[in-house]
Each structure stands twice: as structure tokens, then as C-alpha cells.
């Protein structure tokens, strides 16, 4: 096996056996970028490993919404063209402190506001499994980079499925921790109450290592959770068979037959081979959650994106005669259509008392409904298992975030695992866990991953092996 295409753990083991050095590992991934252009990276900024640590010599890619001091950071938007952060995201320091090598900044849809990489502003990103096919978004560049063997892992923001959706489309593991587990300081976000720092890698063990490095309280992010995480995959004996919540009828009402079948195969095998107990649950609020998440994200965007005015950083319209013209032309020329639409929606629903009460306040009530319903479910089941996406790439019948958005609304950890191929393209299943249960979630996902055996069925088409 070549170095580019190895998992995080394989790279660590290879270095441990003296088969290659951290510098050779980084170079192998840079060579892969040179050799196979999938449009994953907006810019390369290779930084070699700074020394020993849990991730020594592991090449990691960063979504371009993550600030690196001295490296242009655009969050996929023209309005941030030329912005060179004078400070570093907290998570970048943690990665480097653990010895990771950094590869570059990956493409995303503008401010991560669309799940469709065709909406990306700067360049098209290909799904390495099938060039010409959408890798999913918003973190499509990050997923394409890992799937193509151009980075061993990637870190990117997830506000409704932005990491898990492309993970599903690109045959990877995509993970979001409990809200606040990883510092968002220095991560450019459009909807801070929904954003969790997400991780992409080839296998669950890689995710566990990354999370151990990144988790922890940060005085610069008041929402971070206290405490650290360690030995996440250490075997703890479950006192009884895991209970898995499934809602087959509801899944079928949103998802394609092939995608539903792929998920059903997983839970049926889990029941037969692992002894997991299947519990049919009701998730009647999926559509409610989808619209509530959309409105809350739009409302927050109308505030978070107000700062982009051409004065202090980023794009600035030329030859404006007064401040009003400077602001309005800068924003009209700098923002893309998707972002403008979301800001208009957000401002509309916050714009007067009647709209606020009819839309924003009601969306917050819906958030309460979803959060409480999930809270109640944890009395009946250990995890909820869903398809990750309702459809294969390129199909647009159902909202792509229908299954992934609720965990952002409720701040819960969730993981997408590749579970098979449909028409030659990967599909994923998602496990959602109670808040704070990342360890149990990753251990269950690890067991499920071994049962599925997707990693061993990886082919050359996009896996870089």
C-alpha cells in the first residue's frame, strides 16, 4: 500500500515501524494532489510535523473556514478574498501540538451554506469515486481530499450535515461531537448555535484519535465543555445488548429505496450478528426539524454576516463614492446567490415582531420539540440509526440534511459510516447518540464498522489505496 491512502492509524504504525518518516508521509500526500486533481484544495500550505504526539506526521487537511495565521482564509466566499487571519484557530494549535502535518485548505460551499458542492464559488470539486459526480457538501473539498488519499484526515465545520453528507457520498467516516466539545475559536461560522467541529477520516479509530487531540475547554470559546477525552476506543463491556432505534417507515418517506435498503441491511445484520436489539421509534418531527434548522441558520446568518462590509478585511468594491455605496456594492459583488438568499430570509424572519413570532420564535419552539423528543428517546434506546443521506449524489428530491440536521439542532454527537455501494457509489448510515456519549458512540461505530467491512472492500476508484 502506498502512503497516500493510508488511514491515520496506518500512517502512525508505518512510521513506528520505521518504514517512512513524517516528511515522506506529507510528501506522498502532496504528490497525490499533484497527480490527481479532484479540486479538493483551495490552497496548499504544507507544514511538516512539529514533533512527537498522538498525530505525529499525520497529514491533515483543514476546511477553508478554519483560520490559519498567515494563510489566506475565505470560507469559500469571494467576500473574504485576500483575508489573511492574524490569529490561529484553537484547533490548529492542538493539531500541531499533537505533531500533525498540515496539508492545505479545502473547498466548501460559500460559508458552508449549501449541501450541494455545485454551489461552491471558487471551483468544482469532484467525487473521487466517480469524477463528474458531486462529493456532497458543504465540506466537499475536505471529503474529496481524504477519499482521494490527499490527506489522511480532515477537520471542517458541520452545521447540519456538512461533514456527514460528503462522508456518505465519498465512502468515509464523518463525525460530529457533542456541541461545545471542540473549540470553535477561529472557525468562521454562519450559524454558531448549530455548528459543531466535524471530523473526516477513513476509519473510526482515526476519528477517536483526532477527537482525543481536539476535545477540551477553551477560554476563547465560552461554549466549550470542560474536561478532556482519552482512550475513547478502550473496550468497555456494555452491560446489556445495545438498543438501536430505527424508524423504517419514516425513512422510506424521505429516502430512496436503495438507500433505505442499505441502512436496513446494517441494522438487520447488527441484530443477527451482534445481538443488538432493534426498537422501532417514532421520529415524526424530521420535516419540522429541517425547516426549523433552516430558519434558525438563516436568522443567525443575517447577524454573523453583517460584519462583511469591505472596510476592515476581505473584498472591497472599487471607487465607491460614499459609505452606503461601499457597503452595498461590496456585499452585492462579494456574496453569492445562496448566501444572499439566506441573509434575506433571516432578516425577513427577524425583521418585525409578527415575522419574528411566526417564524423565528416558532423555529425555536420546534427546536425544543426535537430536543425533548430525542431526550425522551434515550430512555428507550442507546442510539438512533438512520440513513445518512436520503439519496445518492446528484439527486435532489428530498432535503439532503433531513437525517443529519436534527443532531445539530439538539447538539448531539453523530457519526456516518460507509455501509455499501449503490450504483457504484458509497452510501452511509448514521448513528446518533445522547449528548456527552462520544466514547460509547465511537465504540459502537467501531463494532459496526468491523461488521460492515467496508474498509476492506475499498477499491482504487477514489480510495487511493
Amino acid at each position: 500500500m502506498t502512503i497516500a491512502g493510508m488511514s491515520v492509524i496506518e500512517i502512525l504504525e508505518g512510521q513506528g515501524r520505521g518504514e517512512f518518516t513524517p516528511e515522506e508521509a506529507l510528501q506522498a500526500h502532496l504528490d497525490k494532489i499533484e497527480g490527481e486533481d479532484v479540486g479538493a484544495f483551495l490552497r496548499l500550505c504544507p507544514k511538516t510535523s512539529s514533533g512527537p504526539g498522538l498525530l505525529q506526521g499525520v497529514p491533515v487537511a483543514l476546511g477553508d473556514e478554519i483560520c490559519m495565521e498567515g494563510v489566506e482564509t475565505t470560507a469559500g466566499s469571494r467576500i473574504l478574498t485576500g483575508f489573511v487571519p492574524p490569529y490561529q484557530a484553537a484547533l490548529v494549535g492542538k493539531l500541531q501540538g499533537a505533531g500533525a502535518a498540515l496539508v492545505g485548505k479545502t473547498n466548501l460551499t460559500e460559508f458552508g451554506m449549501s449541501f450541494d458542492m455545485d454551489d461552491a464559488v471558487f471551483q468544482r470539486t469532484q467525487n473521487p469515486w466517480r469524477p463528474g459526480t458531486n462529493p456532497g457538501g458543504a465540506a466537499g473539498g475536505a471529503a474529496a481530499a481524504v477519499a482521494a488519499g490527499q490527506a489522511a484526515a480532515a477537520v471542517a465545520a458541520d452545521t447540519g450535515g456538512d461533514v456527514r453528507i460528503p462522508a456518505s457520498f465519498c465512502g468515509l467516516v464523518g463525525f460530529v461531537p457533542t456541541y461545545g466539545r471542540v473549540s470553535r475559536y477561529g472557525v468562521i461560522q454562519h450559524a454558531p448555535s448549530l455548528t459543531q467541529v466535524g471530523l473526516l477520516a477513513r476509519q473510526v479509530g482515526d476519528i477517536a484519535l483526532l477527537l482525543e487531540v481536539l476535545a477540551g475547554e477553551d477560554p476563547q470559546d465560552a461554549t466549550t465543555l470542560p474536561g478532556t477525552l482519552s482512550d475513547l476506543l478502550a473496550q468497555a463491556v456494555e452491560p446489556k445488548p445495545l438498543r438501536i432505534g430505527i424508524a423504517p417507515d419514516i425513512y422510506r418517506s424521505f429516502a430512496g429505496g436503495d438507500v433505505c435498503q442499505a441502512a436496513a441491511n446494517v441494522w438487520q445484520r447488527a441484530a443477527e450478528e451482534l445481538g443488538w436489539e432493534l426498537v422501532e421509534v417514532d421520529l415524526p418531527w424530521l420535516e419540522l426539524a429541517q425547516i426549523a434548522r433552516r430558519l434558525i441558520a438563516a436568522a443567525e446568518s443575517s447577524s454573523t454576516l453583517a460584519r462583511y462590509d469591505g472596510v476592515r478585511y476581505g473584498y472591497r468594491a472599487e471607487d465607491a463614492q460614499d459609505m452606503r455605496e461601499l457597503f452595498s456594492r461590496t456585499r452585492a459583488e462579494g456574496f453569492g446567490e445562496v448566501v444572499k438568499g439566506e441573509m434575506l430570509l433571516g432578516t425577513y424572519i427577524l425583521g418585525d415582531k409578527a415575522h419574528y413570532e411566526a417564524y423565528y420564535l416558532q423555529a425555536l419552539r420546534a427546536r425544543s420539540v426535537v430536543s425533548k423528543s430525542l431526550q425522551d428517546l434515550w430512555g428507550e434506546v442507546d442510539f438512533v440509526l438512520t440513513p445518512t443521506t436520503p439519496e445518492l449524489p446528484g439527486k435532489r428530491q428530498a432535503p439532503p440534511e433531513i437525517f443529519t440536521g436534527p443532531s445539530n439542532l439538539a447538539g448531539l454527537p453523530a457519526i456516518s459510516l460507509p455501509c455499501g455501494l449503490v450504483d457504484g457509489l458509497p452510501v452511509g448510515v448514521q448513528l446518533v447518540a445522547p449528548a456527552g456519549e462520544e466514547g460509547r458512540l465511537l465504540r459502537a461505530a467501531h463494532v459496526l464498522e468491523r461488521m460492515i467491512g467496508f474498509a476492506s472492500s475499498r477499491n482504487g476508484g477514489g480510495q487511493g489505496a
Binding site: P86, Y87, Y179, L288, L326, L364, G411
Partner: protein, 94 residues
Amino acid sequence: MPVTKEEMKRIGEIIYLDLTDEESVRFADLLNPVLEKADELLDGLREEPLRHISQLRNRLREDEVGIPLPKEKVLANAAETQDGCFRVPRILED
């Protein structure tokens, strides 16, 4: 009640996003189905609004003098600067 072209234009002005007539119509057409769906699904909910998922309290710290970002680093990102300040179009009459 659907959003009108005029309403869309007014909303655009609030956020310094001047829209042409054609854009106002296009964005109104984009937003109206979302709002219709929201009307259908959200109406009648009575639960207490969940404003933020985090149950953590605000953290406080001592108000101590520290070293801010270096001024030159901050100004380096601006399109125009003058005398150590951001330069913008004139805001006062002669």
C-alpha cells in the same frame, strides 16, 4: 401572505444588499416556498423556545490589560488604510 418584490427590496436595503427588480422577484420566489412550508409546519407550537442548546453559564474573567492583536497585522487586511487607520469614503460634508 407571500413576500412581495417591494418587501424583498426593503429587506435588502436593511442589510445593505441593494437588489434590482429582477433580483427582488427572484429572491421572493426562492423564499416564498420556504415560508409556506414554515407556516404549514410551525403553526400552533406552544413549547418553550429553546434559544441555545448549551446549558453552560457565561464564564467571567478578570478585566486585565492585555496585548491585543498588533495594529499593523489588523490593518494589513484592509483594502485601504491611512495614518494607521482604516480609510473609507468621506462621511462628512465639507
